[in-house]
């Protein structure tokens, strides 16, 4: 299996006034193609900082980070933007969809920043991504006409549209109820099945059970790293989940 993410003795310091906060204190991590990795930890454990660096939104203080063979340490701000545009897909806890903008246009957004993609191709790829998340019939709906789960699906479609090497999800089920969370997990498991590498930050142990590997952070260190045994299947769980009364 090809290594998608390779992190070696990564450190990140923040300077708050006179005080230096060591958010990451030497992280070694490797993620291979086709993995579905949960990054866990309490708040302040450094998992968000880790995700920012993995997402090329922030640069480490020291250490190396290779994304799909590209070392991000030497890249300029604009090159990092290009990397985010070509190799990464983001899914956020609060969806971050553009309001008063149709699902289709929201999904098209990353392709607007890729000058190689012509408008016809942009539309086709966005439609394909929405189809992949099962929202073909909601393409022209505005975010406020969609449920939370549907909005998150649009966001997932948006993260898929540029065919990234890895999808980074930050508490992607944090705002959703159990059933909808499981539906999203089913979608992500399906994408993973089809070969997508996914890194999923969560603090919920039951959500982490849907993934193939768990990496647990505490105080800037990785304290535990293990493969998930008896992994949950979201589709199976959805079948046994009692259907709630819709008021």
């Amino acid at each position: 299996m090809k290594t998608i993410i390779e992190v070696r003795s990564l450190k990140k310091d923040f300077y708050v006034g006179e005080i230096t906060v060591h958010a990451l204190k030497g992280i070694d991590l490797e993620i291979k193609e086709g993995e579905f990795v949960a990054i866990m930890g309490t708040s302040g454990s450094g998992k968000s900082t880790m995700l920012n660096i993995l997402g090329c939104l922030d640069k480490p203080t020291s250490g190396t980070y290779l994304l799909d063979g590209v070392s991000m340490g030497e890249l300029s701000k604009n090159q990092l933007a290009g990397l985010r545009n070509n190799k990464l897909g983001f899914v956020f806890q609060s969806y971050n969809l553009l309001s008063r903008t149709s699902a289709l246009e929201n999904v098209e957004l990353p392709l607007f920043y890729d000058s190689r993609v012509k408008s016809k191709e942009r539309r086709e790829r966005a439609e394909a991504a929405l189809e992949a998340v099962g929202l073909t019939d909601r393409m022209h709906h505005m975010p406020n006409q969609l449920s939370g789960g549907q909005q998150q699906r649009v966001a997932i479609a948006r993260s898929l549209v540029n065919d990234p090497v890895v999808i980074l999800a930050d508490e992607a089920t944090g705002n959703l109820d159990t059933r909808t969370s499981y539906e999203i997990m089913a979608l992500l498991q399906d994408l993973n099945q089809k070969g997508k590498t996914i890194v999923f930050v969560t603090h919920e142990a039951d959500i982490a059970k849907f993934m193939t590997r768990q990496v647990v952070f505490r105080d800037g260190h990785i304290i535990r790293e293990e493969m998930v045994t008896n992994r949950n299947n979201a589709i199976e769980l959805l079948k046994v989940l009692p259907v709630e009364e819709v008021v």
């Binding site: 939104l57 985010r84 545009n85 983001f90 956020f92 309001s99 008063r100 990353p110 607007f112 920043y113």
Partner: protein, 405 residues
């Protein structure tokens, strides 16, 4: 960077906030419209003054007595009797830059016809005077050289006099009495309307200057000289020549002050033009201020919108937008706002101008220059006032922007 995409992104961002975009544009719309209207009114009044002035004859030159001294006492102009017909003849002979010259004597009083009477002025002139003052003969004829030499009791009347004395009767062949002198009407002057000062130029009677001199005023001098330069460019030369001619026929020595004044119509035109230029500049400046306020409005909204859309900016950055893309988006948004506003403002200004023209009956002139200028000023405002907020947006840190609440 892809500019088509930047424009598309900016357009869709504006579409999402149509009402706000419109309110933002309103400042520019009003500013531009008022600039267009004000300039049109300014230019219009300038042009109408110029038209009226040139209707009076731009080549027109007047010479009248003045500044005469008798034993150290300066005499009033009306008392001066220093101008003679010989002065006119001398000008005719000595001044190549003058095409026509006429003596002028005036008197005012009641004109009487039948049981009607009307207060008016009589002008004693020669038959070149019509040319000099741009009068036409509407019907009938002008007076002849013989009539001038024989103090013939003939005259031409203006339209206002005709209306007030004759009504529908054909005045030609009738006799009008002016200061008890019966004058046979041989012609009617073509209509000329008001001049730049609102004076009715049709309220007059014209008779041979000899008739007015001898029969009405009983004087031998003339009150003033009217002349026209051969062309507008020869105005200066003509004034020089008249001055020289009058000085020599009045036998003034070197160093003596002139006992007359020479005035030209083009001086008046220049004066009025410069007044209306000042007015135009003033009106333009006032409406320019409203345009500036409109620009600040755009800056204000763009600035607020950068803060309000921080998360959107964060998202755009995270999906691969570069700082420059964000900068372009916000800059294009503000330029689009001001250019759209400008186009609407220009159309509104043109409409408002034509309404002003038809309702208030003001002369207006919309120049291409003012439209083109308004357009470029708008684009400049968009760039100028959009730059700072756009740079602020582009400089945002993606992590902070994404977490912004």
């Amino acid at each position: 960077m892809n500019y088509t995409n930047s424009v598309k992104i900016a357009l869709s961002a504006l579409r999402r906030n149509k009402f706000r975009a419109f309110l933002t544009m309103l400042g520019i719309i009003i500013g531009v419209a008022s600039v267009i209207v004000m300039l049109a009114i300014g230019q219009g009044s300038k042009k109408s003054i110029q038209d009226q002035m040139s209707g009076m004859g731009t080549n027109l030159i007047f010479a009248m007595p003045g500044g005469e001294q008798k034993g150290g006492i300066r005499m009033g102009n009306s008392d001066a009797q220093s101008m003679k017909l010989s002065d006119v003849e001398a000008i005719e002979k000595n001044c190549p830059a003058i095409s026509d010259v006429s003596p002028e004597v005036r008197s005012s009083g009641q004109a009487v016809y039948g049981n009607q009477n009307w207060p008016t002025s009589i002008y004693g002139v020669n038959n070149k005077y019509f040319n000099i003052r741009k009068y036409t003969i509407g019907s009938g004829r002008s007076f002849t050289e013989t009539e001038i030499q024989t103090y013939a009791k003939v005259c031409l009347v203006g339209k206002t006099v005709v209306e007030n004395l004759f009504g529908l009767t054909d005045p030609i062949g009738q006799t009008v009495r002016f200061k008890n002198i019966p004058l046979l009407i041989v012609g009617v002057l073509g209509e000329k309307g008001e001049n730049g000062m609102g004076q009715d130029q049709d309220d007059l009677i014209m008779a041979p200057f000899t008739t007015v001199q001898k029969r009405i005023l009983a004087i031998t001098y003339i009150q003033s000289i009217a002349a026209s330069a051969a062309s507008e460019t020869q105005n200066e030369a003509a004034i020089q020549e008249i001055t020289q001619s009058l000085r020599s026929s009045h036998k003034l020595k070197e160093g003596d002050p002139d006992d007359f004044q020479v005035r030209s119509q083009s001086e008046m035109v220049q004066m009025f033009s410069s007044i209306s230029n000042i007015m135009t500049a003033l009106l333009g400046a006032i409406s320019g201020i409203s345009l500036l306020v409109g620009g600040i409005g755009i800056m204000n909204i763009m600035y607020v919108s950068v803060t309000e859309r921080t998360r959107e900016i964060g998202l755009r950055l995270s999906v691969g937008g570069r700082g420059n893309d964000i900068l372009m988006q916000f800059l294009i948004e503000s330029v689009l706002l001001s250019v759209f506003g400008g186009v609407i403002g220009i159309s509104l200004g043109i409409i408002a101008t034509s309404i002003t023209a038809s309702v208030m009956n003001w002369p207006v002139v919309i120049t291409t220059v003012s439209i083109v200028m308004a357009f470029f000023v708008c684009s400049a405002i968009g760039i100028f006032f959009g730059w700072y907020p756009a740079r602020k947006a582009a400089g945002l840190n993606p992590i902070d922007a994404l977490r912004y609440e």
